[in-house]
Amino acid sequence: MNAPVAHRPGPPLWLLAELTYRCPLHCVFCYNPVDFARQEDELSTDDWLRVLREGRELGAVQLGLSGGEPLLRDDLEIIVAEARRLGYYSNLLTSGVGLTAARAATLKEAGLDHVQLSFQDSTREMNDFLSHTKTFELKNKVAKLIKDQGWPMVMNVVIHRLNIDHIDRIIGMAHEMGAEYLELANTQYYSWAYVNREQLLPTHEQLRHAEAVTDAWRAKLGDAMRLFFVAPDYHEGKAKRCVNGWGSTFMTIAPDGGVLPCHTARMLPGLSFPNVRETSLRAAWFDSEGFNRYRGTGWMKEPCASCAHKEEDLGGCRCQAYMLAHDAEAADPVCRFSPQHALVQAAVAEAARPKVAEHPLVFRDPVNSRRLSEPSA
């Protein structure tokens, strides 16, 4: 019997290098794995330089330098210089904490193409998200450093229940800081955001209001600032093509060298992923079980297998299917055709009920990470 032939994928155009899980911040919506504190063995500089070369040979062209906080790696400048030499377009995804004028100048000199400045909460008081002066002073300072170096100014704000009603102020602030692009990214409920979902999930009304405010700003600003509103899939009843299709475009390298189709794929049980310490990126991309398992549509079962939308959404997100339906091969439960869609509807309905006794927010820090990933006795 012949095994079904998986279609040969194109190159991994997007290489995401998660240089470290270390981070000075403790964001409650962080997408790093909940057990990040147990993964302390970071790749060396030489490992990263080899990864960059192998990625470029495979055809990768966009490079994301992320984390954790990538500025905590003191070899960042070396990595950026090699990326430039190889012909990557390099994107530094940072909170800005640790970016001084001197470091910005060195990174520019090394050939860094773009800095995406994220707005995160650096305090333990979420309600102060917008009024906390220290955060704003820092972001203002870093925004100016970015402008001074002539980098395109791209800001990213993770949107959730606790800040969504301030969206007018957030957009206004980004405009004042001279942002050319603003990404308003509704929280995706994985990892820490999943732990804190009840506190972070906005209501339908909050979302509608935020969209209307965003549209009004679009009309007012025209081309001066481009606004991207990333819709949350819980509220839409529609699955999204996850990472543009499993193993089709994206390749993530975790701090310890794990090679993943997306930054959360390691949560899936019974699936092993290669490590750059033992495997070439070419073998990882084309030949590994981890990358081949959910490529295309051959792995699907019902209702996806016979669905008219299967080529469009590719069944949605495997991690979300596993988290919500406890089955990585199920339809993504955010889809209205999923047998488990009621779970998502219930979470959204719960968001609309007045909160009486909320659980405390769980901050992303090493102590919580170890506690939440304790092997069960």
């Binding site: 012909g87 773009h114 395109p152 050319e180």
Partner: protein
């Protein structure tokens, strides 16, 4: 931005980078977290937009390279679109 004329001197827009990608066998235009794959004629036009040549010179070069004439309206229409997309900038 003014519409392009034969005297316009276009250059690649800030934050964009044009390069040839062997793996994709085409020119691409890179920008923050994104990429435009260019068809042959778009690549041929953009690689001549170096902030030195004016549109008239670019048109003359293209007509010579591809042994044809009358390309100016097409080139101007492409430049106008590329300017709106911020792929190109000019004074």
């Amino acid at each position: 931005m003014n519409p392009p004329t034969p005297g316009t001197v276009p250059r690649i827009g800030a934050g964009f980078r044009l390069q040839w990608e062997p793996a994709q066998d085409c020119h691409v235009l890179l920008y923050p977290e994104g990429m435009v794959k260019l068809n042959g004629s778009a690549g041929e036009i953009l690689k001549r937009c170096d902030g030195q040549r004016d549109v008239a010179a670019i048109v003359a070069e293209l007509e010579a390279a591809f042994s044809t004439t009358g390309l100016e309206p097409d080139v101007l229409a492409f430049l106008k679109m590329a300017g709106q997309q911020r792929w190109l900038a000019w004074a």
